[in-house]
C-alpha cells in the first residue's frame, strides 16, 4: 500500500485502520494511484461545509441494469483551463472516490474532453454500485469547493453519449435539516427573471437532493445556480452559487 496523502492528517496508520474497517482484507481497493487517476475507497481530510455540490451532470441516462465494463465522461470547456474531476457516490455506501485524473492530453476548448476508466479495478469488486449511484463534479480553476464555484457539467455514459443537452441535474447535500430554494439565472440577464425555480423545500441532513433543469430553448452561455435557505434548527442562513456553461449541442 502506498502513502498517497503525505499531507493528510490521517496518515498511514489511519489508512490501515480504515482499510480494515472498510474493505477488510481487500487492501487493493484502497484509494491509491492507478496510473491515470487516483481511485478507491478512502478518507479525504477536507474541512467541513454547510452545503456541498455532490454532482453536476448532464441529465442523461443510458440504462444501467448492470455496471458496464468501461465508464466514460466528457465535458465542455469554453476555454482551456485546469479541471479538477471527482467521481463519488451520490449517497455514500462503499466510500468510493476517484479524482486526480491525468488525461492523455491537456483539456481543450470544446466537448473533446473525455476520460474513461474500467469498472473491474474497484467498482465491480465493491459490488452493488450502479452508474446511477455515481455523481461527478468537474471544478474549474480550483480543486476545493467553496461558496461560489465554477463547474463544467459532465456527461456520464458508457457507450453512446447524447447528441444534445436536454437538461442538467445538480445534486447537493446539507449537513443539517434545512429549507432550501434553488434558482437558475442566465448570467448577463436580470436576476428577477430566473430561467428555473425550485420553491423552498425541507431537505434532510445528509440526504442528497437533486435540482433538475430542463433546458429546452435556452441559449448557449453562462448560467448560475443559486442555492439559498436556512437551517431549521438554528435559522442560520445557507448560500451557494454554482456557475456553469450551457451548450446545447454535444459535438
Amino acid at each position: 500500500m502506498t502513502r498517497t496523502m503525505s499531507k493528510s492528517t490521517i496518515g498511514f496508520a489511519g489508512l490501515m485502520l480504515l482499510g480494515a474497517a472498510l474493505v477488510g482484507s481487500q487492501v487493493d481497493l484502497q484509494y491509491r494511484s492507478r496510473g491515470n487517476r487516483h481511485e478507491g475507497v478512502r478518507p479525504k481530510p477536507v474541512s467541513g461545509y454547510d452545503i456541498e455540490l455532490i454532482s453536476a451532470l448532464v441529465d442523461y441516462r443510458e440504462g444501467d441494469s448492470e455496471l458496464p465494463d468501461q465508464l466514460r465522461l466528457k465535458f465542455y470547456l469554453e476555454n482551456p483551463e485546469s479541471v479538477f474531476l471527482t467521481v463519488r457516490e451520490l449517497d455514500y455506501d462503499k466510500y468510493y472516490w476517484l479524482d486526480k485524473i491525468r488525461p492523455r492530453r491537456p483539456w481543450t476548448a470544446g466537448f473533446g474532453n473525455e476520460f474513461a476508466w474500467p469498472s473491474r479495478v474497484v467498482l465491480r469488486p465493491l459490488g452493488s454500485i450502479r452508474m446511477s449511484d455515481l455523481g461527478v463534479v468537474a471544478r474549474l480553476g480550483r480543486e476545493r469547493p467553496g461558496k461560489e464555484e465554477r463547474v463544467a457539467p459532465v456527461v456520464l455514459y458508457h457507450s453512446t453519449p447524447p447528441s444534445r443537452v436536454e437538461g442538467y441535474r445538480f445534486t447537493l447535500k446539507v449537513n443539517g435539516e434545512a429549507r432550501i430554494a434553488c434558482k437558475i439565472y442566465q448570467i448577463g440577464k436580470p436576476d428577477r427573471d430566473p430561467v428555473h425555480r425550485r420553491n423552498p423545500n425541507k431537505e434532510k441532513a445528509g440526504r442528497p437532493f437533486a435540482v433538475r433543469w430542463r433546458t429546452a430553448g435556452q441559449q448557449d452561455g453562462w448560467y448560475k445556480l443559486v442555492v439559498d435557505g436556512y437551517f431549521l434548527f438554528n435559522n442560520r442562513p445557507i448560500y451557494k452559487m454554482i456557475q456553469f456553461y450551457h451548450r446545447n449541442k454535444i459535438s
Binding site: 496518515g11 474497517a21 425555480r197 434532510k204 437533486a210 436556512y230 431549521l232
Partner: protein, 412 residues
C-alpha cells in the same frame, strides 16, 4: 593369653630378604602399573551451565511469543454512535424495528410504487409561491391551492434514480402515522443514522425489496420530487417538486413497495418515548461498520461518547475505554450479535451493545498506530493462574533439575 581371631591384625607377609638396595623394591607382582600416557579429560562446567540456562531462554522466547500472539477474542462492546451499518448473519429474517413506531413526518426514498386512497387531494401551484424574508422563505397562500380530480387510487411511481416523497402531518406535534416493523433478509445490509436538528430523525436504509403498509392517523401534506403521479387530473406541468394536501378517507393505509435495490426512510420521531423502537431480539451480524462521511468527502468516526470494551470470561481484565474521537474497526466476526440497540435522546444517538467474537478489533485516531484489542495468549494465561503455574512447572523445573545435577557432578 590367646587373642581372639577377630581382634588380631593379620601380620604382614614376610618379605624375602633381598641383597642390599633391593629391600625397598616392590615385588614384581605388586609394582604399580605404569601411568596412562593419554591426558585425563576434565569435566566441562559449560555444558552444565548451558543446560541450566536453557529453560530460562526457552521461557523467555515463549513469553515473547505469547505476548504477541493474538487470536480472535470474545468481547462486549458498548458505544453511543450517530451511525452504524451492519450486515445480517445467519439464515433467518430479522426484524429491525418493533411494531407501531409513531412518527411526526416520513421521508421515503428509492421507492418503486406508493398507493393511497384519499378522499380529497389539493395541490399548490408552484407559480403561486409568495416569497418572504427570513427562515420561512415564504408560503403558498390560500389562492395557490386548488383541488384535483381523483380518477382512481393516488399512485406515486419512482421510475427515476432518486424519487422522494415527504409526508408531514398538518399538526406537526401530532403523530401522523405509525411505521410497521421492518423485516430484512439474511446477508442484507442495514444502515441506521440519527440526526437531531429541528426534529429527531432516524434514517433507515435497508437492502432488498420491501413492501410496507403504513397506517396514517391524520390528514397530512406531502411533497413529491422526481416521481410520476397517477390517479390525479389537472396537475401543474413542468415541475419536479409539487406540494399536496390530503384528506384521508376510510382507507387510511399507505402501501409502499421499494425499488429492488433497497429502501430509505427518514422518520421524525417524537421526543421522549423512543427507547423501545428497535427489536428486542439480538441480531446476528456478519459485518459491522462504524464510519460516516462528512460533507467534503471527509471520513470520520460517528461515535458520540467514549465506548467501553470488556472481555467476558476474563473479568480480571480491566475494561478498555475507547475514545469517541477514535475510529473502531471490527472485522472477521465469529458468532457476533448486536445484543442491544436503543435510541438515546440525551446523547442524540444510537446506544449499541455488541457481543461476540472478533478476529480483528482495533481502534485509533488515525494518526498513530491503531491499538489491537484482541487478547494475547499471555493475557489469557495471566488471567488463568492454574495454566500459568502448570506451564511454568513443565517448562522450567525439569531441565533445571537436569542442568543442576550436571553442574553438581562437574564440581564433585
Amino acid at each position: 593369653m590367646t587373642e581372639s581371631v577377630s581382634n588380631t591384625v593379620p601380620p604382614e607377609p614376610e618379605r624375602e630378604t633381598q641383597p642390599d638396595g633391593a629391600q625397598n623394591r616392590v615385588p614384581a607382582n605388586e609394582q604399580p602399573q605404569p601411568r596412562n600416557t593419554e591426558p585425563v579429560e576434565k569435566p566441562q562446567p559449560l555444558r552444565s551451565l548451558l543446560l541450566l540456562s536453557l529453560p530460562t531462554v526457552v521461557l523467555l522466547l515463549l513469553f515473547l511469543l505469547l505476548a504477541h500472539w493474538r487470536t480472535p477474542t470474545r468481547v462486549n462492546l458498548e458505544l453511543v454512535t450517530r451511525r452504524v451499518a451492519f450486515t445480517i448473519a445467519g439464515y433467518e429474517q430479522r426484524d429491525i424495528l418493533n411494531n407501531s413506531v409513531g412518527f411526526h413526518s416520513l421521508a421515503i426514498e428509492k421507492f418503486a410504487h406508493i398507493e393511497l386512497h384519499p378522499r380529497r387531494v389539493a395541490v399548490a401551484d408552484p407559480a403561486g409561491w409568495v416569497p418572504s424574508e427570513g427562515p420561512a422563505m415564504g408560503e403558498y397562500p390560500a389562492s395557490a391551492w386548488y383541488d384535483l380530480e381523483l380518477t382512481g387510487p393516488l399512485t406515486i411511481a419512482g421510475p427515476y434514480d432518486s424519487p422522494e416523497v415527504f409526508l408531514e402531518g398538518t399538526d406537526p406535534s401530532a403523530i401522523m402515522g405509525t411505521l410497521d416493523f421492518i423485516r430484512v433478509e439474511p446477508a442484507s445490509r442495514v444502515v441506521l443514522e440519527v440526526d437531531r436538528g429541528a426534529t429527531f430523525d432516524l434514517t433507515l436504509k435497508v437492502e432488498g425489496e420491501h413492501t410496507l403498509n403504513l397506517p396514517l392517523l391524520h390528514d397530512f401534506s406531502f411533497t413529491v420530487d422526481m416521481a410520476e403521479l397517477g390517479g390525479l387530473a389537472g396537475l401543474p406541468t413542468g415541475h419536479d417538486l409539487l406540494t399536496f394536501r390530503v384528506e384521508l378517507g376510510e382507507d387510511r393505509m399507505l402501501d409502499l413497495r421499494s425499488q429492488p435495490e433497497g429502501l430509505v426512510l427518514v422518520v421524525s420521531l417524537p421526543v421522549g418515548d423512543t427507547e423501545a423502537i428497535f427489536s428486542d431480539a439480538g441480531i446476528p451480524l456478519a459485518a459491522v461498520e462504524l464510519l460516516e462521511e462528512k460533507l467534503g468527502g471527509r471520513l470520520g468516526t460517528p461515535l458520540l461518547h467514549d465506548g467501553q470494551l470488556t472481555y467476558p470470561g476474563y473479568p480480571g481484565i480491566k475494561p478498555v475505554i475507547i475514545s469517541k474521537d477514535n475510529f473502531v474497526a471490527l472485522d472477521r466476526l465469529g458468532t457476533f450479535h448486536l445484543a442491544e440497540i436503543s435510541l438515546d435522546q440525551d446523547a442524540l444517538g444510537l446506544r449499541l451493545r455488541f457481543d461476540g467474537e472478533a478476529g480483528n478489533l482495533r481502534s485509533g485516531s488515525g494518526v498513530f498506530e491503531p491499538v489491537d484489542h484482541r487478547l494475547t495468549q499471555y493475557q489469557r494465561l495471566q488471567n488463568n493462574a492454574l495454566w500459568a503455574i502448570l506451564g511454568a512447572v513443565a517448562v522450567w523445573i525439569f531441565p533445571t533439575t537436569v542442568g543442576g545435577y550436571e553442574l553438581y557432578k562437574s564440581f564433585k
